[in-house]
């Protein structure tokens, strides 16, 4: 059996708070193959950003394992971690706060190269930066500009160039387009997809936007309060959503077409609570239109409901298969 690019097993992060432990990420499992994109969808507060940071070891995990090219990086010491750092990169949501305002475009893109001394001489350094700028579609004349002189789209291109500088194999994209206008968003999405085709990159694409995640992902995880409620190949998830939360989420997206107006909204009522010391049982049950007694009291496992399609809902447990 071949080794996947990234494999996450039972990953957990519990933050201590005055009111008890906050289960930000609570037992997540998935794998990402080379050249594939896994989308992580969920509303704010569902733990998707924490999940990204756990995998990059920006936050220490409470429990679980993260295998990158077969090695459990959660067990790595500083030295080993620094060796794999270049291979795992991050693209940030906010193209404003993620760029040091006092550095020029060239300095920003050059930072990773300098940290790892990934160049032979001054000439090589300048050439490498020029190549990166070309790859992400930044005109050369911006090399000496500063971030505040550029628009959001160009800033995000800097962020991407920087992430590519060390030739990574895997990139966590944390809402990379949610701060951008639609026309710019399309440019960046196209760029990310082109880069994947050329370089065989693996992406973990974190977003709250279902249409974006549908567009870019091969597989999708729907998260709710720290847990995975549905894990499926993209087409299967959108054609056949199995979890009531996914169904509600899909129904809630406004579609820019008149005839597509859904006449009867199965509105999900209520709002996300915070998973502090959660009781066993389905965390979505209090908002779920289909909830019943059996949703409470015990944890609901992910059940296979189709090819590569998993959902965590008692409705499947009862009927054994798709209802």
């Amino acid at each position: 059996m071949n080794v996947p690019l990234l494999e996450v097993k039972n990953l957990k992060k519990h933050f201590p708070t005055p009111k008890g432990k906050l289960h930000a990420v609570d037992g997540i499992n998935f794998r990402i193959e080379q050249g594939k994109t896994l989308g992580i969808v969920g509303e704010s507060g569902c733990g998707k950003t924490t999940l990204g940071r756990l995998i990059l070891r920006l936050v220490d995990a409470t429990d679980g394992e993260v295998f990158f090219n077969g090695g459990n990086i959660l067990g790595y010491d500083k030295k080993k971690l620094n060796e794999i750092r270049p291979k795992m990169q991050l693209i940030f949501q906010d193209p404003y706060s993620s760029l040091d305002p006092r550095k020029s475009v060239e300095e920003l893109i050059g930072e990773p190269l300098q940290i790892h001394k990934a160049y032979t001489d001054k000439n090589d350094y300048v050439n490498k930066i020029a190549d990166l700028m070309k790859t992400v579609g930044l005109a050369e004349r911006y090399a000496h500009s500063y971030p505040h002189e550029l628009d959001g789209g160009r800033r995000q291109r800097i962020g991407i160039a920087r992430a590519l500088a060390l030739k990574p194999e895997f990139i966590v994209c944390d809402e990379p387009v949610s701060a951008l206008d639609v026309s710019i968003q399309a440019q960046i999405l196209n760029l990310l997809m082109d880069l994947q085709e050329q370089g065989g990159l693996g992406y973990m694409f974190i977003t709250h936007d279902l249409s974006v995640v549908k567009h870019i992902s091969h597989e999708i995880i729907v998260m709710y309060l720290g847990q995975c409620v549905e894990y499926a190949p993209t087409s299967s998830l959108f054609k056949n959503p199995q979890h009531p939360y996914t169904q509600g989420l899909l129904d809630a997206v406004p579609i820019p077409k008149l005839q597509e107006q859904k006449t009867q909204h199965k509105l999900i009522m209520g709002e996300l609570t915070s998973p502090i010391e959660p009781k066993p049982g389905c965390r979505f049950a209090p908002r779920c239109p289909k909830a019943n007694q059996s949703c409470y009291g015990k944890d609901i496992p992910l059940i296979q409901v189709g090819e590569g399609h998993f959902a965590a809902c008692v409705l499947h447990e009862q009927k054994g298969e798709f209802f």
Binding site: L56, L58, N82, R85, P86, M88, Q89, L90, F92, D94, S97, S98, L99, D100, P101, R102, S104, E111, P112, I115, H116, R141, H144, Y146, G159, R162, A165, L166
Partner: protein
């Protein structure tokens, strides 16, 4: 001229430093009062440097026969108890004021920033220790500190600078630590970590450069306070050794003649007022000019 669909060539841009400086000075001098204050400060600074040319008399030469003379055409502000020319002493006193202001502020700013950065970056026990020491320092009154230093090292200009400087360290340390704590959480520092940068590298390349600006502002605003502190100490006799001319000491000396010869005490007092006021107004303007959120509002 008719335009076409060709992309226009990028406008040649002036270098970033030049544009930044221009913007800085434009906001700084947007108000006439600030210009006036800057001019006054420049004149005072020049007077301090060229005191020997500006002052009509030697500030130390005593002439007991001509003591306490009122203002006249020779001694434009009169003479003091020992017959020394008051105006000349004021001119020389500018030196003390400026040197105390600049040296103590530079000293406290530097030490405070280093402590603040160390505290913010290291965190944990180091942070708690440094901050508790700063809290303790805030509890020591300036006068007690000056008396203590005077008792240990003897009185003098250097000790006044040291006392005033030490007293101001906590404000810089706290400001810098606060800045560091904010910047430390910024995405661009996280980006550094992702690339594999160490804590030290992140501190040097991202954190320190981004917390200098507010410190510069605080320094400008503290200049006036430092000068006032020196004047206070000298007034109380804890400052500069006589016969060195210091405005605070001159006010103190002239105090006993206030009813008969008010000029001796009031003239240096006015200069203290003037220099502190000017530094504060310019300090305010520097803060506005360095704050990007306020740019363009003038």
């Amino acid at each position: 001229m008719n335009k076409t669909l060709e992309t226009p060539p990028a406008k040649p841009k002036k270098s970033k430093t030049v544009r930044k400086l221009r913007r800085f000075f434009r906001v700084l001098f947007a108000r006439k009062l600030v210009i006036l204050c800057t001019v006054i400060l420049v004149i005072m600074a020049l007077a301090a440097v060229f005191a020997s040319f500006v002052a009509p008399f030697n500030p130390y030469s005593q002439n007991l026969g001509n003591s306490l003379s009122p203002a006249n055409s020779t001694n434009i502000l009169g003479t003091d108890m020992l017959g020394r020319d008051v105006f000349s002493r004021i001119v020389y006193g500018t030196r003390v004021s400026f040197s105390v202001g600049i040296v103590s502020v530079a000293f406290s700013g530097l030490v405070g920033m280093v402590l603040g950065v160390v505290s913010g970056v290291a965190g944990g026990v180091v942070d708690s220790f440094i901050m508790r020491v700063m809290d303790a320092m805030l509890a020591i009154p300036l006068i007690i500190l000056a008396m203590f230093l005077g008792a240990v090292f003897g009185q003098g200009l250097g000790n006044v600078m040291l006392a005033v400087g030490i007293a101001m360290i906590p404000s810089y340390a706290r400001l810098t630590r606060g800045q560091v704590l904010t910047i430390r959480e910024m995405d661009y520092v996280t980006a550094g970590t992702i690339f594999g940068a160490s804590k030290l590298r992140n501190a040097v390349s991202h954190i320190v450069p981004n917390c200098i600006a507010p410190n510069i502002v605080l320094m400008t605003m503290n200049l006036g306070g430092a000068i006032l502190a020196e004047a206070n100490l000298s007034f109380l006799g804890l400052g500069i050794n006589p016969p060195t001319a210091s405005w605070g000491a001159m006010v103190s000396d002239g105090f006993m003649f206030l009813s008969m010869h008010p000029v001796i005490a009031i003239a240096p007092g006015i200069f203290i007022l003037l220099i502190v006021l000017c530094f504060n107004i310019v300090g305010d303007a520097v803060r506005d000019a360095l704050d990007p959120r306020l740019r363009g509002t003038f």
